[in-house]
């Protein structure tokens, strides 16, 4: 509102000279100068909702959020600069540390970028192993998100149940590569070890107990997930905090660069796994869930449906790996130097699109390695997500982004 249109209250001298002040004039003046009621509230870096070290400053008018300003960077380690000073194989364990919850994805992405720059095609069995490992990682990441949403909504049982289911997939990770979180499993040109080399059945070389157990895990999980869904979906308290909060439109979403489940919750029908397939994803069959509501509940539903699709993909991969058998190769020998060139590669991470841009100059170290993190862009749009919502809904809306600071700050 411009100054000319504002109501002016006569000052003391004017009143002494006989000017009249009515009650309506005072009320109008107060309503026009409401800005003084707004205040900035700092949430974080140590706050139960933040799930990591970052700050969200929100401007609140009473109970309504009118502006938001996310502050990141507390965890900046200079990852990209460090990578320029390492040989190519030494970056693989560093890529694990980009995101503790989706370490397999980032290592996979890094190895895939190097393979594309080298111009090599990896063996078919490796493709299936990588897809399987990625989907195990997606399940465990989504389950950790579900547990976090449980605590954010005050649903502690959902936290415990989701954490319990996650342990099964963590055990599978341990058996596959020896670590729960920082897996260090993919290699440039393949993977570290064959799935047939672990937990061998002594009576039959071709049957690995690992493969048997992973199918059992899928069977168990498909039933167990329904229990957790029932815990949240049948409770009107949690539904009312998710339905209709944090709404963004399809156009806003595409323009702001939001990707992943949050994007598919607004009606954008796009998934890198299907529309720009990499490694083995064009060889397996799966559906891409899309909802057009654009609120927190849609993002929750998309993630839950993705978990069902993940077990479906894992089953197909296990069948394919079994039919290829123990003798099929799982790793190629690759040169240590990558020829000069530029490569851009992207994958569908648990939280959105992750991508790497590699400039190689013919030496054994990258000239430049840029990491495109999904959350870095998603969190930059938090102002549009939070505008007009209540302060009590902020933790729920931000939980649907699934913050991970390791990849945001790099």
């Amino acid at each position: 509102m411009t100054d000319e249109k504002k109501t002016q209250i006569p000052d003391a001298q004017a009143i002494a000279e006989g000017a009249e002040v009515t009650k309506e004039m005072v009320q109008e003046y107060t309503s026009q100068n409401m800005d003084m009621d707004k205040m900035w509230i700092t949430m974080g870096p140590q706050h139960p909702f933040s799930h990591g070290l970052w700050t969200l400053k929100i401007q609140a008018d009473g109970e309504i959020v009118t502006d938001a300003d996310p502050i990141v960077g507390y965890l900046h380690r200079g990852w990209e600069k460090e990578a320029e000073n390492r040989t190519y194989p030494k970056i693989i364990p560093m890529a694990d540390r980009l995101c503790y919850a989706s370490s397999m994805m980032y290592t996979h992405l890094y190895c895939m970028t190097c393979e594309k720059a080298l111009g090599i095609e990896i063996p078919e069995k490796t493709k299936y192993i990588r897809v399987m490992a990625d989907e195990i990682n997606r399940l465990q990441s989504h389950l950790m998100w579900l547990a976090a949403v449980g605590t954010d909504l005050g649903n502690f049982t959902a936290f415990l149940w989701a954490s319990r289911e996650r342990e099964f997939w963590m055990d599978m990770n341990v058996r596959l590569c020896g670590a729960r979180m920082t897996t260090n499993y993919p290699r440039i040109g393949g993977v570290r070890n064959d799935v047939f080399d672990i937990d061998l059945d002594m009576n039959d070389e071709e049957k690995s107990r690992f493969m048997r157990d992973i199918v059992r895990c899928c069977d168990h999980f498909d039933k167990a997930l329904w229990d957790i869904i029932a815990l949240i979906d049948n409770n009107s308290t949690f539904i009312s905090r998710m339905v209709g909060t944090g709404i963004i439109t399809r156009e806003q979403c595409a323009n702001l660069g939001i990707t992943g489940p949050a994007m598919r919750g607004t009606g954008v029908d796009f998934d890198v796994r299907r529309d720009d397939p990499y490694d083995g994803y064009d060889l397996v069959d799966f559906d891409v869930p899309v909802l057009s509501a654009g609120d927190s509940y849609a993002r929750y539903m998309i993630r839950v449906e993705e978990m069902f699709q993940a077990t479906r993909i894992i089953r197909q991969c296990v069948d394919k790996i079994r039919s290829l058998g123990r003798s099929a190769p799982y790793r190629l020998k690759v040169p240590s130097r990558i020829p000069a060139g530029k490569t851009y590669c992207r994958i569908e991470d648990c939280r959105g699109e992750a991508a790497m841009y590699l400039v190689s100059d013919g030496t054994d170290r990258p000239y430049r390695l840029k990491v495109r993190s999904a959350i870095f862009v998603n969190v930059s749009s938090s102002r549009d997500l939070l505008m007009g919502c209540r302060i009590a809904d902020v933790p729920v809306i931000m939980a649907m982004i699934d913050m991970c600071l390791g990849e945001t700050d790099r």
């Binding site: 323009n255 796009f270 841009y357």
Partner: protein, 164 residues
């Protein structure tokens, strides 16, 4: 902007190439096309805004995936790379634009008013490389402390362990 969702066809890359070269002949050079990838070089950095507007409005590239800088001290220049992505009309195709920014004039026009997603990428590129994005709504440091007086991703900035 056409928002019809189409299935992938082999002819898309050639289609995008011819559309770009017809509209901006002499200003843009399509260097390479692969499956779902179009690589182009913008010859003058002053044209970047017009090209990005055309790419968004007429070719329906509605989302910027990535924006980053690369430093080439030997050639006395830096580069800005734009990775632009399509959800509908050319679904799954990435258009890569590269622009040279010479050392003596480290300025380029912002695209954050075309794609809001470029906002933080530009801030990051500015703070790490020192490339100034003109007319950016808020060019402030994002990842590094406000007291930094150097641009750490430049090749002239050496790490202590760097023996190369």
């Amino acid at each position: 902007m056409d928002t019809t969702i189409r299935e992938y066809q082999d002819s898309w890359e050639a289609e995008i190439k011819s559309k770009l070269e017809d509209k901006f002949s002499g200003k843009i050079e399509v260097t390479k096309t692969e499956t779902r990838r179009v690589y182009a070089k913008v010859l003058d950095k002053a044209d970047i805004k017009d090209i990005c507007k055309f790419v968004q409005d007429d070719l329906s590239f509605e989302h910027i995936n990535c924006l980053c800088g690369v430093d080439y001290p030997a050639e006395n220049k830096m580069q800005v790379i734009y990775e632009i992505d399509n959800y509908t009309f050319y679904r799954g195709v990435i258009l890569e634009l590269e622009v040279d920014v010479p050392y003596d004039d480290l300025h380029i026009e912002t695209v954050s008013d075309i794609w809001g997603g470029a906002n933080w990428h530009e801030r990051e590129t500015w703070e790490l490389f020192g490339i100034v994005f003109d007319h950016h709504p808020r060019l402030e440091r994002l990842l590094t402390p406000d007291t930094y007086e150097f641009f750490p991703m430049r090749k002239s900035y050496k790490l202590r362990e760097d023996k190369r």
